[in-house]
């Protein structure tokens, strides 16, 4: 075992910066990262044991005990639940004779839940040894469990492949693209290398100016002007880095999955253009672990582009050197936050940094770094190719261009739609075939729960900003239980724990919602939930804690009657139970549990 561990450490150049990769390799090799392995890694890398342990414990896909030979990670996000996850859970548990969170006695199968794996358009979905299984139902579970018992390789259980590059020999996945509407920017006509060649003749400053004048704003959700970010970074001294954020973790978004599958060249080209613009030599694609099934394919695309001289040394003979490597995540939503993503890429816990300094000043290894979303890079390619004026003709005044929407939930045609900014929710619902809609969750759990009275609002950064996640909630759903409670449980799991309010209030608020759902809450609880959410938003360091009370605050604002119908009209209640509170100590000191009142 030791030799294997040492070999893995060697393979990553004994660099502490590659700790996450090392731990991923260990997890794959031994199905766990044991305490013994932690010690070896620590001493070999010159780190303390605690350094290694804290990184390990941060990520969802590292385990201390070995996972099963077949490690099932079933998505328990809201849409998975809406699409019948309970049946899938029941069937797995029945056939395996264990509950979720357990492993069969023979070590063959382990069952666990995981947060959204980017398959909301084809739920319920699961990862089994990193292979994606979509559209699960009782019958499919029966087939999968039977195949596991026969000891078949997981890959062989995938019999039908999805469309497009999902059927590529290096992918061979059952995932479907579900591209329902291709727009002119990201999913339209594309010729690899054209924009990069144009950039190299334009000069770096002109590239930044073009992106700025197109008013390209970050597609991850925050909407920061990309050109400005590039300009800030270009002005800083040091070895600059280009990061592409493919840690698509917001439940309900899966449009980057489609871009990674169908527009990998375009994304890489956008990174190279950005590299040229800011004067960087190195780019890193931060790929969420859930998209591991795309890694070999994405590596191959890199190789092809190197062969075409679109990456590597002296690109297109213009003396520009730029190359890209892929950095895997290991299961942590908060790593989608840019400074957490950088921390994670440095082999550490993915905890957001204090700002300033901003990543453009001190990012990866304290060097100036830009972090942009997959879609942002793809959009930049088209801007360079067709010009800012062309791009600005689309969208609204403050939000130019198009947006990829990942639409899922209660609608006839879930999938990816490339639309111009400015579309109203009404129009969107007509487009996806949704009827009897109770609400639309815009931009995932951290976004806004929009009621029908506001369906005339526009999807645009100045009205309803969105990173792309759109979850349609039908009238038949229990909004508080199916959506709000699920989202709060998600945030409770995913808070990195660094800020005390985020660490505590997400748990406390989840419990409050649970009280409402179970009919145990009272009226003042509703005001408390609102106030506490505001405190958390004000006192958290990063976007997670600043937005994680949104499921509660936006439903309290827009659907208060649903809460009021479930709470008791009392101004105080106590959960204190004297009998329970004295039982343990009376037993310990051997006295009858009698309270004289």
């Amino acid at each position: 075992m030791n030799e294997k561990i040492l070999g893995i450490i060697e393979a990553y150049g004994r660099s502490p910066y590659r700790l996450v990769d090392i731990l991923l390799s260990l997890q794959k090799e031994f199905r766990c990262v044991s305490d013994e392995a932690v010690n070896i890694v620590a001493s070999e890398l010159g780190l303390s044991e605690v350094d290694v342990r804290q990184t390990k414990s941060f990520y969802h896909f590292f385990t201390t005990e070995p996972v099963g030979k077949y490690a099932v990670y079933l998505n328990n996000s809201a849409v998975s639940e809406m699409m019948g996850m309970a049946d899938v859970v029941d069937e797995f548990e029945k056939l395996c004779g264990i509950s979720f969170g357990q492993k069969t006695a023979d070590g063959l199968i382990s069952l666990d839940h995981t947060a959204c794996i980017g398959m909301n358009d084809q739920e319920p979905a699961a990862l089994i040894n990193s292979v994606v299984f979509t559209g699960l139902n009782r019958q499919k579970v029966r087939e999968i469990v039977a195949a596991m018992r026969e000891g078949k390789p997981v890959e062989s259980m995938v019999t039908e492949y999805g469309d497009g590059n999902n059927a590529h020999p290096l992918v061979l996945s059952m995932v479907k693209n579900n591209i329902r509407k291709a727009g002119p920017v990201c999913l339209g006509e594309y010729e690899t290398g054209k924009a990069l060649a144009r950039s190299l003749t334009m000069g770096s400053k002109a590239v930044i100016d073009e992106v700025k004048s197109a008013n390209l704003r970050g597609r991850g959700g925050a909407g920061f002007p990309a050109g400005l970010k590039w300009q800030f970074c270009a002005h800083e001294a040091g070895d600059r880095y280009v990061f592409c954020n493919a840690d698509e973790g917001e439940p309900g978004t899966f449009k980057d999955r489609v871009l990674l599958t169908e527009r990998a060249q375009m994304m890489y080209e956008g990174m190279a253009i950005a590299g040229w613009a800011i004067g960087a030599k190195e780019g890193i694609l931060y790929l969420r672990y859930e998209y591991l099934y795309l890694k070999a394919f994405l590596e191959n695309v890199l190789e092809e582009m190197r062969n075409q001289n679109l990456l590597g040394k002296n690109i297109l003979g213009k003396g520009f050197d730029f190359d890209i490597r892929i950095q895997l995540g290991a299961g942590a939503y908060v790593c989608g936050e840019e400074s957490a993503l950088i921390e994670s890429s440095e082999g550490k816990r993915g905890e957001p940094r204090n700002r300033p300094p901003f990543p453009v000043q001190k990012g990866y290894k304290n060097n100036p770094t830009i972090v942009n979303n997959v879609e942002t890079f793809c959009s930049a390619v088209k801007i360079i190719e067709n010009g800012a004026a062309w791009y600005k003709k689309m969208g609204t005044e403050d939000s130019s261009g198009t947006k990829l929407l990942s639409i899922s939930g209660d609608c006839k045609m879930p999938g990816v739609y490339e639309v111009e900014w400015g579309m109203t929710i009404h129009e969107m619902l007509r487009m996806v075939g949704a009827e009897n809609v109770q609400a639309v969750q815009v931009s995932g759990p951290s976004g806004v729960c929009v009621p029908p009275t506001q369906f005339n609002r526009q999807i645009a950064l100045e009205d309803l900003p969105s990173g792309g996640s759109m979850i349609v909630v039908g009238k038949q759903r229990d909004l508080i239980k199916d959506i709000v409670l699920n989202f709060m449980a998600f945030f409770e799991d995913e808070s990195c724990g660094s800020c005390i309010t985020c660490r505590s209030f997400n748990m406390i608020l989840r419990r409050q919602v649970q009280k409402v759902v179970e009919g145990r809450a009272i009226k003042p609880d509703l005001d408390n939930m609102k106030d506490w959410g505001e405190i958390m938003a004000k006192t958290s360091r990063c976007g997670l804690g600043q937005t994680s009370s949104n499921p509660i605050s936006t439903t309290l604002a827009n659907f208060r009657e649903l809460y009021e119908a479930r709470v008791k009209d009392e101004d105080f209640q106590s959960d204190f139970d004297m009998e329970k509170a004295i039982a343990e100590s009376c037993e310990a000191v051997n006295r009858p549990p009698i309270v004289h009142e």
Binding site: S574, A581, I582, A583, E584, S585, A588, V589, P593
Partner: protein
């Protein structure tokens, strides 16, 4: 109009909040003009004989007697104030909350290094004694609390300003420094 009546108690606390109350110095003379005191360790009145207006409670609830006193205060006071960290959050005594109560008792009476000989492992269990609760509870988890005055101990000025505002009906106007602790 008669003066408002104030009652106070210290539960699972250290009496520091009451000491802080006495730190109002000469203002205690003004206080006596403003209010009357009923049940309180300050005057040693032990039982409620009339309805009070304001109850001020220091300390959380660690045993059955604390709960009983607290409930009695709720019954006899129109307004209840949680005074200080222990009353509001459990405070220092609540550090035992993560440890099973049996372990705490065994450490205190049998196994701790400062325990003398206790070979029979006797632990106090006379029925006259209050019973230790499984954990230390903040007051608001047991009865409704109207106001909270934070601090360990809350500054004398904070207690003074709050009580005066409550009694006079004036707006409570306290400088940020009075409730800022870092």
């Amino acid at each position: 109009m008669s003066k408002p009546i104030v009652a106070t108690a210290s539960l699972a606390g250290c009496f520091g909040c009451h000491m802080s109350l006495l730190d109002i110095d000469e203002r205690i003379l003004k206080l006596i003009e403003l209010v009357d005191f009923h049940k309180s360790p300050i005057n040693d009145i032990k039982t409620f004989t009339k309805q009070c207006d304001i109850g001020i409670i220091e300390g959380g609830c660690c045993n059955t007697e604390n709960v009983e006193v607290l409930r009695e205060f709720r019954k006899n006071c129109k307004i209840l104030i949680s005074l200080g960290e222990c009353a509001i959050m459990g405070g220092l005594p609540a550090m035992r909350n993560g440890i099973p109560v049996r372990e705490c008792l065994e450490e205190a009476y049998c196994d701790g290094i400062t325990v003398g000989e206790n070979t029979e492992r006797i632990m106090p269990n006379d029925e006259e004694l209050p019973i230790i609760l499984d954990k230390v509870y903040p007051l608001h988890e047991i009865v409704k609390i109207d106001y909270y005055l934070p601090g360990c101990a809350p500054r004398a000025d904070l207690i003074w300003e709050a009580v005066v505002a409550l009694v006079t009906g004036n707006e409570l106007n306290i400088p940020y420094e009075l409730v800022k602790f870092d």
